[in-house]
Amino acid sequence: MRKIYIVGALAVLFSACKPNVAITTKPSPGTANFANYLAIGSSYTAGFSDNALTVSGQYNSYPIRLFEQFSLVGSDGPFIQPYVYSDNGYANPKLVLSHKTYCNGDYRLAPIDVPNWNADSRDSPFVSTANNGQINNIGIPRIRAVDYMVAGFPLINRWASRFYNNAANPATRPLDELSFRVRTQHPTFVTMWLGIDDVLGFALAGGQGDGTGAALPVAGNIYNSHDISNFNAFFNAYDSALNTAVSTSADGALINIPDILSLPFFNVIPVKGLNLTRRSLVDSLNAKYPSATREKAFDTGYNYFIVRDHNGNVRQAVPGELILMTTPVDSILCASWGGWNPIPEEYVITTEEQQQIQTAISTFNGHIFNRAQLFNLAYVDMHNYLTSFPSGFSYNGIKYSTDFVSGGTISLDGIHPTQRGYALIANKIIMAINDHYKATIPQTDVNKYRGITFP
């Protein structure tokens, strides 16, 4: 029965070999120590999303994603964040996608404040139940690097007042909070993402204030939050925070400032958005605005909006200028904003203001890069990474971009990431850490998390 034997042997052979693509590279921390992780930063670090701090946003912050991956290479838990109780937004309602009727009768999906929102007294204060009251993510919405030196900061920032040690003391600075955390928790690894809000406030206000980085404090060492931070004050505050953060010889990563003007908040409403359908309206606008105030004559179809710039001049916008997402759409549709009535300057970012924003970002990023080198820390070039977003890229079958709603990465406020956006950010940070520390920390599965939720 030789032939039976041969067939039988083959059967055994093939059933024994199942396809095998087992893991070949073990996760390794490289030269870094991830035992105790502390996250420092602003809105992005706190998990702010849909224009509010919510518990689900916090549960999906990039520091959480990082901690999950760090725990594969020796990070000890627990990783405590100052969780709010409510999922509807602290201390203001979050945005949700819902149908909305516009003044002209249009009925379509748009971000609206979550209905029936009430402040929830259980949201504040937060007291950690962990050993020595540890908190591993001290990201505070809207905090600037320059705020780190401001005494009494928790008295003017409701997110800080929720959990800061000694929050009621008018002498307490964010730097003191950081120092307290470092002293009591001895972090071995820190990530620091400060600087976004040192330019973002200026951009969100449509470019109010000085804009040159030379602004003086409005009182004490408090700077106007609608202006670009004073450059020297930024350098000083950033260095103070960094020196404190790594004072226990921690390893870490410094994250730079992305190109905020590529976010949907500044691009959803096109500057060439004045739709003229009637000839009579075209003629009356041409009569109203002398040719010196516009690039070319109005015509039927889409025209550049009429805006008031920061010098008080009423003129037609030029290509490249930006209209903010917060501009009341009903005013454009039904109150002749951008045509008969100029769009107010607080909704317009002029070419000059954009230049000021870019100069500030590159100045701050130059400093952050320099400090990463000086302190031998990983440098996460988020600015460069986010430049790939506007055109879109595919990740495990989803095409991501910064397009509003459809792009999947940026939440309904047009500024802050979705859960998926935060997971992509975590992966970018992991890549930089792996590079710098010769580590092999696996990436997180971005698609598991939420993008935009549709009703």
Binding site: K3, I4, I6, V7, L10, A11, L13, F14, S15, C17, K18, P19, N20, V21, A22, I23, T24, T25, P27, L97, H99, R108, L109, A110, V268, I269, G273, N275, V329, I332, F393, S394, Y395, N396, G397, I398, K399, D403, F404, V405, S406, G408, N427, I430, M431, N434, T440, I441, P442, Q443, D445, N447, K448, Y449, R450, G451, I452, T453, F454, P455
Partner: protein
């Protein structure tokens, strides 16, 4: 303004349908057992597929039926930028039963003419991943089946030379499901949108060949099976999405075309007493599969025609096989083949990830009664471990596919 607010345009990047190696090569059990060779030598009525020129060499009319059980398994693990592989996933177990039926032979004793009909399943694929696997937005499951009907005529020009040709009518079916990257209030994993496509396909082609007998113990064969374009017209496209997006993703219909590539085969066979050796080369014109298009009948801002580049390359497969006749009743076969992949790197999609295939085969033929033969064959297929990417969908990883395919068949000579 605000016109961009809800242009929820999606990739559906995959839409890859059925992937590469969807050629089955299981059209005769004796030939399968001999590494898939059979262009030069006429063993049985399966020559209607392997080389129609052999049909006139049969001794009388033969009725042939066989089936093969396919049990493929594919494993995947994702490769991240650091080079760390994290997620090992295996496709769900599925069984397939491709079959072959042949009837034919010389129309009467000593006639130069032969007629026949073949019904066989030369192309097909099926792959089912867990609904929540890493690549779910590219594919969750895909299934392609085809049945070819081939009426055939063969003519013996001389003792040395014979020719044959058949017309091919192909019928088939196609279905595909994937998750859509939009989700409702319960989030991804529970509340993903889905797309389901299904349709029936048909196409035509031909199969022609020539066989040359240098002498009783040395033969050559050349055959060409034409490309068959499987047209799917007005298939169903169904979308499950959150209510607010239903207008953007209306249930509609789609058209597409899936090419079954042409194959040029050259073979030879030598006989030394009771041992026959065969060697075949198949040149498969996969470059017909340059891209995959799905054209929807109804379009919206979110639902546009899909176009996924594939850029398959032509392949040359080498096959070798042997048959040893132990007695008048029993013969055993063995063989091997190397089947290189048509899929170039950067285009390896998870609907049927392909890689170079290594094939080992064995089989037995038993003739318990005059004119009646029982065939059994076993094929083992393994791909190399392939680290590959699908750039269009942004998915990269390491794949490996293995299968053991047992088959059984019978034929009877009248």
């Amino acid at each position: 303004m605000k016109k961009r607010l809800l242009a929820a345009s999606l990739v559906l990047s995959a839409f890859s349908s059925f992937g590469s190696g969807y050629q089955l090569n299981l059209q005769g059990l004796r030939q399968l057992a001999m590494g898939g060779t059979g262009t030069a030598w006429t063993w049985d009525a399966a020559t209607i597929f392997y080389n129609p020129a052999g049909l006139c060499r049969l001794n009388g009319i033969q009725v042939y039926a066989s089936t093969t059980l396919l049990m493929p398994s594919t494993a995947f693990s994702n490769q991240v930028n650091s080079g760390t592989e994290t997620t090992a996933i295996r496709s769900e177990r599925q069984n397939f039963l491709p079959f072959n039926i042949y009837v034919g032979g010389p129309i009467q004793q000593d006639s130069r003419f032969a007629l026949g009909l073949g019904i066989y399943t030369p192309f097909g694929s099926g792959l089912k991943w867990d609904n929540n696997w890493l690549g779910k937005y590219l594919v969750q499951s895909v299934n392609m089946k085809s049945v070819f009907f081939q009426p055939t005529i063969s003519y013996r020009i001389s003792d040395r030379l014979s020719v044959g040709a058949g017309f091919v009518y192909a019928a088939g079916s196609f279905d595909y499901t994937a998750a859509l990257p939009v989700h409702g209030v319960n989030g991804p994993g529970q509340d993903d949108g889905t797309v389901m496509l299904d349709g029936s396909a048909s196409g035509v082609g031909f199969n022609a060949g020539i066989q040359f007998r240098a002498n009783e113990d040395l033969q050559f064969g050349l055959s060409y099976r034409s490309q068959v374009n499987m047209d799917i017209g007005r298939g169903n496209a169904n979308f499950t999405v959150p209510a607010s997006l239903k207008d953007s993703f209306p249930d509609t219909q789609f058209d597409t075309q899936l090419p079954c590539p042409g194959v040029l085969s050259l073979g030879t066979g030598w006989r030394f007493n009771d041992l026959t050796l065969q060697f075949d080369l198949n040149y498969t014109m996969w470059n017909a599969f340059d891209s995959l298009r799905f054209n929807f009948v109804q379009h919206t801002g979110s639902l546009q025609d899909m176009h996924a580049p594939r850029h398959y390359r032509n392949t040359l497969t080498a096959r070798i096989g042997a048959c040893y006749k132990i007695s008048r009743v029993v013969a055993i076969m063995g063989g091997a083949a190397f089947d290189p992949t048509p899929v170039v790197n950067g285009f390896v999609s998870p609907d049927l990830p392909d890689a170079d295939r290594y094939i080992l085969t064995a089989g037995i033929a038993i003739k318990p009664l005059p004119g009646f033969t029982i065939l059994a064959a076993l094929e083992g297929v393994s791909t190399e471990r392939r680290a590959a990417s699908y750039n269009y969908g942004g998915l990269s990883g390491v794949y490996q596919t293995q299968a053991i395919n047992p088959g059984i068949g019978i034929y009877y000579n009248f």
